[in-house]
């Protein structure tokens, strides 16, 4: 992979142990204590750890380390700001599927400010925010959901009489690290689509002196969000990021490469129009606009809503919602680029950098020339499957 890793020196270096010097945090229970208190068994806990270990891309041998970290480390204060957004990221976060994820992560990280869920409003909400900003200066994680409009001096988003631009700078100042949730905070998303009338701006363009983890997607997958937080809590540093600041664990593979319909692509078997015979056979959606070949995300592996499905499995092309400017990369039903010389033999890296929207021809040539045999094979297998069923009858 060509992705360069951010230098460890740049990586947030807060040690959780350091936080124990603070009097407040030292009295806090560990994750395992919390889990136990919540009524979950040791077995549930181990199951959770094992799942999260897998999610954050570690070998099972690291499971002990994860478990130990969760058992012994205290709670991390988190401030979660909402700017120009639709709250789909918060919604996705609470969809995180393992029983203890929604439960533990929601309050175990000590979510001290979140407009979506917090009990307090108005001055009491502001007071809670100030309290955490002061008490845990330099220690809290700032999660940002939404972009920040910089047009007209920032008046397109105001909270408590201040602009989101003012608030972002104030809150980021004391943050140990920032998580930019979703495509809004990572790359501006829909409101920054042309002509970007409010000057919607992603966080990394406004805050330069803090480590920022981008977790793009509209929204990101709930388990991915949980995974990012768990990594951080486990190791006391941000996960390894790719060259544009996304956690490698979830964004180093293209949807296309992890798609269960990939064999049909390789065999040149495509849905020609929605609900046609090929759609009913689950063939590849590339010709009806699938952006899987140019989209880096975990949808094909982690899937959505507790592994229930993902867009392609439900018959709709990937719209590329975790990619920068996906709103302006051509229509959602327009066939993507030719991926010159693209085939199973091609390097994924080369392909990922080919911009969408060039030509189409080469794909068909590739498919026909290289894989016509495979197409026959698939038809043959399908026929055999049917026959064997008939035989059973």
């Amino acid at each position: 992979m060509k992705h360069t890793t951010i230098s460890p020196k740049l990586i947030f270096n807060l040690k959780i142990d350091d936080m124990n010097n603070g009097t407040e945090l030292s009295v806090q229970p560990t994750y395992y204590e919390e889990v136990e208190r919540k009524g979950y068994s040791r077995r549930d806990f181990v199951k959770f750890v094992s799942m999260m270990t897998a999610f954050i891309g570690l070998e099972q041998s690291a499971m002990g380390q994860v478990a130990k970290a969760l058992e012994s480390k205290p709670r991390m204060p988190v401030i979660w700001m909402h700017f120009q957004e639709c709250t789909c990221c918060s919604e996705s976060f609470i969809r995180s599927s393992h029983p203890i994820v929604a439960d533990i992560l929601l309050d175990k990280i000590s979510l001290d400010y979140t407009e979506t869920l917090m009990a307090a409003s108005g001055t009491q909400a502001e007071a809670a925010l100030k309290n955490t900003m002061t008490k845990y200066k330099g220690q809290y994680i700032l999660c940002v959901e939404g972009s920040v409009p910089v047009g007209a001096d920032g008046v397109y988003c105001m909270i408590g009489g201040k602009t989101s631009l003012q608030i972002l700078h104030e809150v980021a100042d004391g943050a140990a690290a920032i998580i930019a949730w979703g495509s809004c905070a990572s790359n501006g998303c829909v409101q920054s689509a042309k002509p970007n009338p409010t000057g919607a701006t992603p966080i990394h363009k406004l805050i330069k002196d803090k480590p920022i983890i981008k977790v793009p997607g509209c929204p990101p997958i709930g388990e991915v969000m949980a995974g990012v937080i768990v990594y951080y809590l486990t190791f006391g540093r941000i996960p390894e990021l790719d060259r544009i600041g996304r956690p490698k664990a979830f964004y180093n593979k293209r949807v296309h490469d992890t798609c269960y319909r990939r064999p049909f692509y390789d065999a040149g078997l495509f849905v020609e129009t929605f609900d046609d015979e090929n759609a009913k056979k689950g063939y590849c959606l590339y010709k009806v606009g699938c952006k899987g070949p140019s989209t880096y995300n975990a949808c094909g592996v982690t899937k959505w809503n507790g592994g229930t499905s993902f867009p392609i499995q439900a018959g709709h092309p990937c719209i590329g919602c975790s990619e920068e400017n996906f709103w302006d990369n051509g229509g959602f039903y327009e066939r993507g680029s030719s991926f010159a010389g693209f085939g199973i033999e091609s390097s994924a890296d080369t392909i990922g950098e080919v911009a969408l929207g060039v030509t189409v021809g080469a794909l068909a040539i590739h498919a026909v020339a290289t894989n016509i045999g495979k197409s026959k094979l698939i038809h043959q297998h399908e026929a055999e499957g049917n026959e064997s069923e008939h035989e059973l009858e």
Partner: protein, 574 residues
């Protein structure tokens, strides 16, 4: 002398809402509602492919996710005269019902409950009595003494840790909290239970739409092809999964949500006389049983009620120039023909112009312009939209399923019909329509299975998907009932591209500022007369505002900062 208080941010809602209220002698004398965030999505849509619009406007809101996408595909299908296959209608209806079940439960427990349930007081509850109480109101199995005792122990430790997280700085101990400790404990236990549950019911969206939030839709039908003989598309296993989710969801609503709602409501009957507001209600209607164009076939009938008079129902026509109009007298916009004119969405013209105080500020200039929300009116009337409007219109239209459930609820609570016109009525109506949609969802599911059994697996009508088949010019309206109320989109397609796209959204109806005649909209109107026991802890304001379930991202969606006029459209002959 009245005193101005400000509540900003209003939390436990979607988006950015600010309320300023004047309090005199312990009651609200005047109130102002302001939306303080704008994204200008309509401007972004111009010039794009109408088939893509559902994805853009879907991102208007991730809480009432799916509902703008549904409205958008209907809007384009209306413009292009596309009739979708019955299965696609059923799948959309099933997704609609599961959206209601999810959204209303999350609203009740996670956004609204803490206005009524005192979390800290729950620590004083006797788990044994709590268990007895729970078992007396519901057959839900998780109701043992041990269950409640465990939860109480957990929360005790949580509170003792000193870091209250999302419960920090709540109004705990406020005199307006009236529930016995045992009911508070049930509410708290089910807050946690519902958090677990909510991620299940949305799997229906994942199965048909690929993901939630923001499932995928398709102009012409749905993309989820059916083939019972293939493992990779919608097959028997997927359908059985949907059936199970709908059934489990219905159980939760009937055995947890509704008993809790009724138990809590019985201690707050005084809120059956508070927060009524306008008394005008409007519904566009939804859940077609004979195709979207047959309005009479809707499970949620449409109509308007004026001045609480449920003996008269008016029809609403979204295409008529003089029915739905938007005003900007108190909104941060300018109209070419002046500040006080109302415009039908097809004639929409606007430029945003912030003219409020320079931030940071203490107060808005509420005598001038004070919100990014425009002010929609129906025939000049301010209208409330949402669950209460739907239940009232269904009831007033004499629909049996509505009459049965409304009459039973009024009888159980021992309150008159007039109690519906209130904060409590709004909150109760949301529960009642959750029961209805949970039931209807299963009915639609059975019909889908019956269709497939009869050999009909069609899911999309694709003959007009290619823009080459479209007329040069086309106009459409798509409507739905979002969980928060009547929602419609208007589109003008010229040369296969979007020339104009307008949304008039439920929270815009409810949360908008005053109109050209100075009439208040629903939020402001409903706050007048509300008692406020402690002006530093405006719990009562939250109760009424939350009873509407605000969704601010939806309500603000706009045009062009440079002040270009959105292309004028001639209104279709209606």
């Amino acid at each position: 002398m009245s005193k101005r208080i400000v509540v900003d941010p209003i939390t436990r809602i979607e988006g950015h809402l600010r309320i300023e209220a004047d309090i005199e002698n312990g009651k609200i004398k005047d109130a102002y509602s302001s939306g303080t965030m704008v994204r200008l999505l309509e401007e972004i849509l111009r010039g794009r492919d109408p088939k893509d619009a559902w994805a853009f406007v879907g991102r208007v809101c991730g809480v009432c996710t799916s509902i703008h996408s549904l409205t958008s595909v209907r809007c384009v299908e209306d413009a292009l005269d596309i009739t979708i296959p019955p299965n696609a209608e059923l799948v959309r209806n099933i997704m609609f019902c599961s959206q209601y079940m999810h959204d209303h439960v999350v609203h009740f427990y996670h956004l609204h409950a803490m206005d009524w349930v005192d979390v800290v007081n729950a620590l004083k509850a006797d788990p044994k009595k709590t268990s007895e109480l729970a078992q007396s109101i519901s057959s839900w199995p998780k109701s043992s003494v041990g269950y409640f005792s465990d939860i109480q122990t957990r929360i005790k430790k949580f509170v003792a840790s000193g870091q209250l997280g999302i419960f920090s700085n709540g109004y705990w101990g406020h005199p307006a909290y009236k529930l016995p400790a045992e009911v508070n404990l049930i509410g708290l236990a089910h807050y946690l239970e519902a958090l677990e549950w909510q991620k299940e019911i949305v799997k229906v969206h994942a199965i048909f739409g690929g993901k939630n939030p923001h499932p995928n839709y398709l102009v012409g039908g749905m993309a989820c092809a059916i083939n019972l003989d293939d493992v990779s598309v919608i097959n028997d296993e997927r359908l059985a999964y949907v059936g199970q989710l709908l059934k489990d969801g219905k159980d939760f609503i009937n055995q947890v949500y509704i008993p809790d709602l009724m138990a809590i409501a019985s201690f707050y009957k005084d809120w059956g006389a508070i927060g009524g507001g306008l008394g005008n209600y409007m519904v566009y209607g939804d859940l077609p049983t004979n195709g979207y164009r047959d309005l009479s076939s809707y499970k949620f009938p449409g109509g308007a009620i004026l001045n609480k008079d449920i003996s008269k129902i008016y029809d609403v026509d979204l295409k008529k120039d003089d029915e739905v109009q938007e005003f900007i007298t108190h909104s941060w916009y300018e109209y070419e023909e002046g500040n006080d004119k109302g415009l039908h969405p097809w004639k929409g013209e606007s430029k945003v112009k912030y003219s409020g105080p320079k931030p940071p500020f203490e107060h808005l200039e509420t005598d001038k312009k004070y919100s990014y929300l425009k002010t929609p009116r129906w025939k000049g009337n301010a209208m409330e939209v949402g669950p209460l409007a739907r239940v009232l219109v269904g009831y007033a239209r004499g629909r049996e399923d509505f009459k049965e459930i409304v009459d039973k609820t009024l009888k159980d609570l021992n309150v008159p019909v007039a109690a519906l016109f209130s904060t409590l009525g709004r909150t109760a109506a949301r529960g009642l329509e959750s029961v209805l949609t949970a039931q209807w969802g299963l009915e639609f599911y059975d019909q889908l299975i019956a269709n497939i059994k009869n050999g009909d697996t069609r899911m999309a009508e694709m003959s007009k998907f290619d823009p080459a088949t479209w007329p040069k010019s086309a106009f459409g309206v798509g409507h739905t009932e979002a969980p928060r109320g009547a929602l419609a989109h208007w589109i003008n397609i010229q040369d296969q591209k979007i020339a104009n796209y307008q949304l008039v959204v439920p929270t815009t109806w409810n949360a908008s500022p005053r109109d050209n005649k100075g009439q208040m909209s629903a939020y402001e109107s409903s706050l007048i007369g509300t008692p406020v026991a402690d002006e530093n802890q405006p719990l009562e304001i939250l109760r009424t505002i939350h009873s509407f379930d605000p969704c601010m991202a939806c309500s603000v969606h706009l045009y062009d900062e440079k002040g270009k006029t959105i292309s004028r459209v001639s209104v279709l002959g209606d």
